[in-house]
């Protein structure tokens, strides 16, 4: 049988248990909402505006750099699995693969994109 059936069962049970726990809290807990209690928490000060506002774009740069290296690492996994059976040439191919991307990291670094400014 397909191994993913077990993973699917884990996902299903992993959803059932927290839903059950939260439902238990919903059933046994008191429900007395009022506007003050439901207002957004901002250390006791009246909340100013919405939270859904523009944030620092720097986060976006880091996700972009991450995306490239994530894909790179995923490419390297099959290489790593087979490495023991292949000779030195496979290692050299891997080194070339990583070296090309290290150029990208150095470029990003030199451009000052890795600074939190």
């Amino acid at each position: 049988m397909n191994e993913w059936i077990y993973v699917a069962l884990f996902i299903i049970v992993g959803l059932i248990i927290p839903i059950g726990a939260i439902l238990a809290g919903f059933i046994f807990g008191p429900k007395k909402p009022n506007p003050v209690k439901q207002s957004t928490y901002e250390c006791g000060i009246e909340p100013v505006g919405e939270a859904w506002m523009q944030f620092k774009a720097q986060y976006y740069i880091f996700v972009l750099v991450f995306l490239v290296f994530d894909v790179e690492a995923v490419f390297l996994f099959p290489w790593a699995v087979k490495l023991g059976h292949l000779g030195l040439y496979a290692v050299i191919e891997g080194i070339i693969f990583v070296a090309i991307l290290v150029v990208g990291l150095v470029y990003t670094w030199r451009k000052g994109m890795l600074e939190w400014a």
Partner: protein, 397 residues
Amino acid sequence: MNFWNDPLKVAADWLEGIFTGWGMDAVAAHVLTVFLGVFLMIVILMVVDVFLVWIERKVVARFQDRLGPNRVGPFGLFHPFADIVKLIIKEDTTPGDADKPVYNIAPILSMMSVLILWAVVPLAPVMLGTDLNVGVLFIIAAGAIGALSIIMAGWGSNNKFALIGGFRQVAVMISFEIPMLTMLMIPVVFAQSMNMNAIIQGQSVWYVVLSPLGALIFLTAAIAELGRAPFDLAEGESELVSGYNIEYSGMKFGMFYAGELLHAFTFGGFWAILFFGGYRFFGLEQVSPIFAVLILLVKALVGYWVIMWVKYTMMRIRIDQMLSFNWKFLTPLAFALLLVTALMNALLSSAPVWLYALGMFLANIVTAWVALEIARSATKQERERAEGPQKTAEARH
């Protein structure tokens, strides 16, 4: 095949026998049995989780020279149960401005992303869970869902602190995922498989001996992935007042809290599996699967203790320090170590085991030494550049 040698199979066969005896289809009976097994496993995990609350509180108390919980039950063992009762009968407030569906799904996904990690954990030679051939990558896939739940919690709450905390936590998680992915490849290179059980079977010599630096980088990345100190800048009690889970109360907060503790324990377990031989302990695991499970549990608890030790010893670092530490030091070092390991693996492939282990160990030490020397000279230059006009550090104070 008796109960002592393979308790899980005996129990499963017995249950399937009962189900088919009721006139159930063989496949349906099998699926139902597996479902019950998974359910039991997750219930046991939740019970372990409850005691983790006690362990965490007791250990932090010892680190801070306190007693910790000691009133309810022997050694305060029943404190977490009181906590659960409190969480259940607490009012579950939802902020009026929240994005309700997103806000409510986030804690469920957070807990689920931790629980499914156990699908690939081999508990004993005969208790494999899911014997996936991509088990190592599965950890990262589950982590992706965890990151998603955090961004959902931060956004759904419609709270500025929550959103900043969520952004920071996700930035930390994705940044340190690169060193973690790279370090996951090192056991893969040694074991020539991405299967968790094959990695454990390959560890006649624990991989921590072959790659001590790899184990250290993996632990660092795991701590960052967990969002624990020194990388807990998403929580930042003094600035963000708790971060992404600030608006949650009652059992929804409980899910985040329990998920965090179980996540830390789980990564203690993964550290043990990938670098410390998993359930193996000088052949004791062959005696009975029960011993194997206990060995893994003890190793996972030791890993969890190390994570707690780091958490309660180190102070929080700033986000710019965290990101430059990751991108300018840890990521290049991780890739360098992977390539050094691959090269040594090819050069020493026909060497005897002791020479192979010695060569790997020395290669790791040299890599670590070179990296530290480069970092030292770079920081020295940085310091001189920053302090140049004032001549000395004292001049500023």
